[in-house]
């Protein structure tokens, strides 16, 4: 962590004593009276002008949130009000979300940013109110006349600053929406808020640079095809060294049965790379006829953190590439928000993908009719089906050094209901698995605290505050069951939770599900396994079962 970030004990104390919720503090002012204060650690760097230009987005310029003048376009107010008007007419959900909230408070203490910051504007109800108040004040008759009395306010530059702060202090994780009796999806409000801010050139580099990269090269990191191949081949060498088995991925191979797409973080970031090794071992183990595209080499879609048009464009790449290569269907790796895009938006945006076939596992014959329209299967479903049909040879004792819990990644859990499959796999390939407390898992899972493109170095204090709730639950199973590994199925999680664990629960490492699958697989022609995929030595794993009493 960079200099200037608070020490763990100080931050923990601040959360405990200064927080509205945990500290039992009542603010002395209405939220509308609280000023927006930017300081290092609570904002992400704005987008570089050349990136905005490449995207064709408005108002490229140099600025920082610390400036008094954000150099907004002259007619900034008109732009926002017109854009909001258009969207209220087009987007029925938005109109509903603006009109329906009864302020029951069920969502108030469900947000990890509220729990970690104690800032009332991080209550999901108020986050939505930031927009809703403007809607009332500028668009409803009562609000126009009565203003503040009916919770309406006018759009000002101060409101724009507030939007920037709090729509980027929401990770679009949707935990709050699980508890809303009206089903208001605050993530949709955040998405819309960010969309409006783009019209003024108010946005962050960490999201838009990956978007530009993905648009150009097919992945967020901007990895060129020859580099992508070199990096994967380097991992192939590592797998050979550890297991004695040469795995054989192919690239851009026309006529392969399956196109495999995973986040570029699995190819490039530690510890995602061990998950990538796990996938390749699995595919070799079952003799899967698959290929990887170096042009659509990204499962993630930072376009979904940007605008609907950008999300659509980046999502379309996967399908165009599947069509070009002539595969039957797409197998998707351990990514988080990719699955929200595929499961909830793809069919309306780019579907139906009629040029592909309804996915059928070539190994078990199981049809994945749940993927009938998207033609894209989650690897956890695919592997759980292999295990159920007893198609894998494995020895869970090779993971006896792993004592794990499972972090449900927000999007697979809440946006597609993928709750059982990862657990089904984990319980078979690992001998020691312990759940975190009930209110922090499955659809009620706590966010890593840095999702939706907020995983920057400069945002560390806010991220650690946001990750506190998740870390607290991990601490619990670490204390109670000596858990040393947090397994997850999202590439953002694998980097953000690593930072959160290093900070809050340093004895716990972060792993991908298929890293542990890869560790356990018994490969044909393998050499004696003395190391796991991280090249950490395995000690006497063949002694006893290794399960807890």
């Amino acid at each position: 962590m960079a200099d200037g970030n608070p020490k763990k004990a100080d931050l923990a104390k601040s959360i405990e004593t200064e927080s509205l919720f945990l500290g039992g503090i009542k603010p002395d002012k209405e939220w509308t009276e609280l000023p927006v204060e930017f300081k290092p650690g609570n904002f992400n760097y704005p987008t570089k002008p050349d990136i905005i230009e490449k995207l064709g987005f408005p108002n490229p310029r140099k600025w920082t949130p610390l400036d008094e003048d954000w150099k907004l376009p002259e007619n900034w107010k008109e732009i926002i009000l017109q854009a909001l008007k258009d969207r209220l007419e087009k987007n029925r959900a938005l109109k509903l979300f603006m009109d329906t909230c009864v302020r029951c408070g069920a969502c108030a203490d469900k947000c990890h940013f509220f729990l970690g910051s104690g800032d009332p504007k991080n209550m999901p109800v108020i986050r939505a109110e930031l927009l809703r108040s403007v809607y009332r004040g500028e668009f409803t008759r009562a609000g126009k006349i009565l203003g503040k009395m009916v919770g309406g306010r006018k759009l000002t530059k101060e409101v724009i600053k507030e939007w920037f702060m709090y729509f980027y202090q929401c990770t679009e994780c949707r935990r709050c929406s699980v508890f809303c009796p009206y089903g208001i999806d605050t993530a949709e409000i955040t998405m819309l808020g960010r969309e409006l801010l783009h019209l003024l050139g108010v946005n962050i580099n960490w999201i838009l640079e990956p978007v530009v990269n993905c648009d150009r090269t097919g992945n967020h990191l901007g990895i060129e095809p020859h580099t992508f191949k070199q990096v994967v081949e380097s991992l192939v060498d590592d797998v050979k060294e550890i297991t004695g088995v040469k795995v054989n991925p192919t690239f851009n191979r026309k006529g392969a049965e399956i196109l495999f797409i995973t986040p570029s973080g699995d190819v490039f970031a530690d510890p995602g790379i061990y998950t990538m090794m796990g996938y390749m071992l699995l595919f070799e183990h079952i003799g899967l006829d698959y290929t990887i595209s170096t042009y659509s080499s990204e499962g993630g879609n930072f376009g979904s953190f940007t605008t609907p048009e950008m999300m659509k464009k980046l999502n379309a790449k996967m399908y165009m590439e599947a069509e070009r290569l002539g595969v039957k269907w797409i197998l998707g790796g351990e990514c988080g928000h990719m699955w929200r895009v595929v499961h909830q938006y793809m069919n309306t945006m780019n579907g139906p993908a009629d040029f592909l076939e309804v996915p059928v596992s070539p190994i078990t014959g199981t049809p994945f009719s749940n993927a009938k329209s998207t033609k894209m299967v989650h690897i956890a479903e695919f592997t759980a089906d292999l295990l159920k049909n007893e198609k894998l040879k494995f020895d869970a004792r090779r993971n006896n050094h792993i004592r794990t819990t499972f972090h449900d990644s927000c999007n697979p859990a809440r946006a597609m209901g993928l709750l059982e499959e990862p657990r089904y796999i984990l319980k078979r390939v690992v001998n020691n698995f312990h759940e975190m407390p009930e209110n922090t898992i499955r659809e009620k899972t706590f966010c890593c605290g840095s999702g939706s493109g907020l995983n920057t170095g400069e945002y560390m204090e806010t991220r650690m505050r946001g990750g506190f709730a998740r870390a607290n639950a991990v601490q619990h199973v670490h204390d109670k069951h000596d858990v040393n590994t947090l397994t997850t199925i999202c590439a953002i999680d694998r980097v953000t939770l690593k930072a959160a664990m290093d900070y809050w629960v340093p004895d716990v490492q972060v792993a991908g599900l298929h890293e542990l699958v890869g560790n356990a697989l018994i490969m044909e022609g393998e050499s004696e396994r003395t190391e796991d995929l991280r090249e950490d030595e395995l000690e006497d794993f063949e002694q006893g079962e290794g399960k807890d009493e």
């Binding site: 580099n205 990956p210 901007g222 060129e224 580099t227 993630g300 980097v495």
Partner: protein
């Protein structure tokens, strides 16, 4: 952000990474190293030169694992040893600190 050196102004991002790869010189590297409080030795230059060569060929900084493997081979070390060696040379992490001194941009995305 910018910094001045011998009468020339160099542009960097907010974290001090050089914006233009091509304006990098060994003098710039020495200057950046001073800011990072790293005294450059032959061993550091091995790393910096590898990073720049890799970037020229692949248009991205190598992932740490590849850097570790390269240094292990070059110095006839075990990989774990090479990793330790790299952190001794660049205490704030080879990915961050060595890349900055070598004038490479900061990677973005799920990393």
């Amino acid at each position: 952000m910018t910094f001045e050196m011998n009468g020339t102004t160099y542009e960097t991002d907010e974290d001090g990474y050089l914006l233009d790869l091509d304006v990098w010189t060994t003098d710039v590297a020495n200057h950046l190293a001073k800011i990072e409080e790293v005294e450059l030795s032959e061993k550091h230059w091995d790393v910096i030169n590898f990073l720049r060569d890799y970037y020229k060929e692949y248009q991205i900084a190598p992932m740490v694992k590849i850097l570790i493997k390269e240094m292990a081979t070059k110095n006839e070390m075990q990989k774990k040893e090479a990793s330790k060696y790299l952190y001794e040379l660049f205490p704030n992490g080879p990915a961050i600190q060595a890349c900055k001194i070598a004038g490479l941009p900061k990677p973005t995305g799920c990393v």
